[in-house]
């Protein structure tokens, strides 16, 4: 197996963190100004970004982040709609506060916890990660979150815990596609091998761009696994189960020949119907060429070891 080493990031792709933070201040100031002008100042003033000052993780990539309007308006959320625009609109109906998460299965301390209580025990950090969709587009997203491993360790996994299964919220009254029971089997479920779940890059995200997570992006709690295709990053998690056997996952059940359990970003393994060789980096402008997709989405240096004895053509 050929493992590409991580290329040095060209200086042109690096945003100075100070510039980045400054830019945000300017944007916020502009938003506040416009809000005052339109007479909704007091409301906005109370809505200051919740996690504006979380420290940046040392796992963060020094990349220019995709504009938040693009991240917030280009989402796949099939519980609501197959259409990216409609799912953004419809997702606003989902109640996300209060929220609780069940942790169960092969752990010493199973239980159901309020998200607020979980957050009190975790240190939030900003993680700027590349995000690559199986549809051959990508973004750079400044997530706010904490390592999934830190949460799992608190629940004390048994030695029999080999996999982790995640389940999304089931709310057919609010999610039209769940009500009609179309395409995938609901609720959405995903899974990771335990070593993937414990990897420091694997996040549970509660926000992005220094603020709480927009609903269409998976509020209040979503998984982020930056070296895998986006569909692994399950949204609106209500249940985390540790198991002995590999869990079934939504897209894998729908089309096992097309969406594997691992779903590692890999330019050398095309989707059966389209190439994964390159991607369009959204927000990069009309006349910017596509970028060539990197093995493990560029995180090979950190994660290739997890798969060193595996045939990635077979375990795709």
């Amino acid at each position: 197996m050929i493992i590409k080493t991580k290329k040095t990031i060209p200086a042109s792709e690096i945003t100075d963190p100070h510039v980045f933070k400054e830019r945000r201040k300017i944007i916020k100031a502009l938003v506040a100004l416009t809000a005052m002008g339109s007479g909704i100042g007091p409301v906005v003033a109370g809505n200051k970004p919740r996690w504006a000052n979380v420290p940046e993780s040392n796992l963060s990539a020094k990349l220019i982040t995709t504009p938040s309007e693009i991240i917030e308006n280009y989402t796949n959320y099939y519980e609501f709609s197959y259409n990216k625009h409609d799912s953004t609109k419809l997702a606003q109906q989902l109640p996300t506060d209060p929220w609780s998460v069940e942790i169960s299965g092969e752990v010493e301390k199973s239980g159901t916890y309020y998200l607020e209580d979980i957050l009190r025990q975790q240190t939030l950090q900003e993680h700027i990660y590349r995000f690559r969709c199986v549809e051959a587009w990508s973004m750079v997203i400044p997530w706010v979150g904490f390592a999934l491993g830190d949460l799992l360790r608190k629940a004390q996994p048994l030695s029999t815990a080999k996999f982790v299964k995640f389940t999304s919220v089931y709310q057919p009254e609010i999610m039209p596609r769940q009500k009609k029971d179309t395409l995938l089997e609901w609720p959405y479920s995903e899974g990771l091998r335990i070593d993937e779940a414990m990897h420091p890059l694997t996040l549970l995200a509660v926000g992005m761009y220094g603020d709480t997570m927009p609903k269409q992006n998976g509020a209040p709690l979503r998984l982020v696994v930056p070296w895998k295709y986006g569909f692994k990053s399950i949204k609106a998690i209500v249940k985390i189960e540790l198991s002995k056997k590999a869990p079934t996952t939504s897209w894998n059940r729908f089309a096992p020949g097309e969406y594997g359990f691992y779903a590692n970003v890999n330019p050398n393994v095309p989707h059966p119907r389209w190439s994964q060789n390159s991607e369009r980096l959204l927000g990069s402008g009309f006349f910017t060429p596509r970028r060539e997709t990197e093995l493990f989405n560029g995180y090979g240096e950190q994660v290739a070891g997890l798969y060193k004895d595996m045939n990635l053509q077979h375990f795709f």
Binding site: N73, Y74, Y82, N83, W274, S275, R280, F286, R290
Partner: protein, 205 residues
């Protein structure tokens, strides 16, 4: 009553509207997060729509006994070709920036593109045989060649279906229209055959 021919300039202008509308959306930045893909989809959609219009002309002619619609069929056929060409150019230039190695890999690995290429080659062949002198030159072969439009329609629909993740509502919509339009022809030819057989004098089979 207005003669159908008088409508021609208006229809000709109308056929360019989707393109102007797209250019306006590009200028106004109305195409969302993945603007390049949106351009693509828009052009592909319009090519498919013009193809449906072309296929609708024979049924319309049969039902209304309108004559002289072949002029319009030619025009709509050429617009199918124009939008398909723009769709192809958007793929090569806008999406892939003419980076040929990436384009080559993409085409080799993406089976849905093969259907698109098949549809385009047929439409290209039909477009270049449009001039009247070519029609004359080709004689009966012209009609045979232009029957390939049915295959182009099938390939275009496959091209649409085959690149989607699971949300098939839109290609199914176009598929049903094309099935309807082709089904009409099948029914008609079946009906004609039955009538012909009934009309033949006995003993002369």
């Amino acid at each position: 009553m207005i003669k159908f021919n008088q409508l021609k300039p208006g229809i000709l202008i109308a056929c360019w509207i989707p393109l102007l509308w797209l250019l306006l959306d590009i200028i106004l930045d109305n195409l969302g997060g993945n603007a390049v893909q949106a351009v693509h989809i828009r052009l592909g959609d319009w090519s498919l729509r013009f193809l449906c219009i072309v296929l609708a002309i024979t049924p319309l002619q049969t039902m209304t006994n309108w004559r002289g619609m072949s002029e319009y069929r030619r025009m709509f056929g050429l617009f199918t070709f124009i939008y398909a060409t723009l769709h192809l150019l958007a793929y090569l230039v806008l999406d892939h920036y003419l980076v040929w190695p990436i384009i080559a890999t993409d085409i080799l690995e993406s089976s849905y593109i093969w259907f698109g290429i098949a549809a385009y080659l047929i439409i290209l062949a039909l477009a270049v045989t449009t001039p009247k002198w070519v029609v004359k030159l080709m004689g009966k072969d012209w009609k045979k060649l232009h029957r390939f439009i049915y295959f182009a329609a099938g390939a275009a629909i496959m091209h649409y279906f085959w690149q989607l993740k699971g949300n098939l509502a839109e290609p199914l919509f176009y598929l049903s229209i094309i099935i309807l339009l082709l089904g009409f022809r099948l029914l008609l030819s079946f009906k004609n055959r039955v009538i012909n057989r009934l009309m033949l004098p006995k003993g002369r089979r």
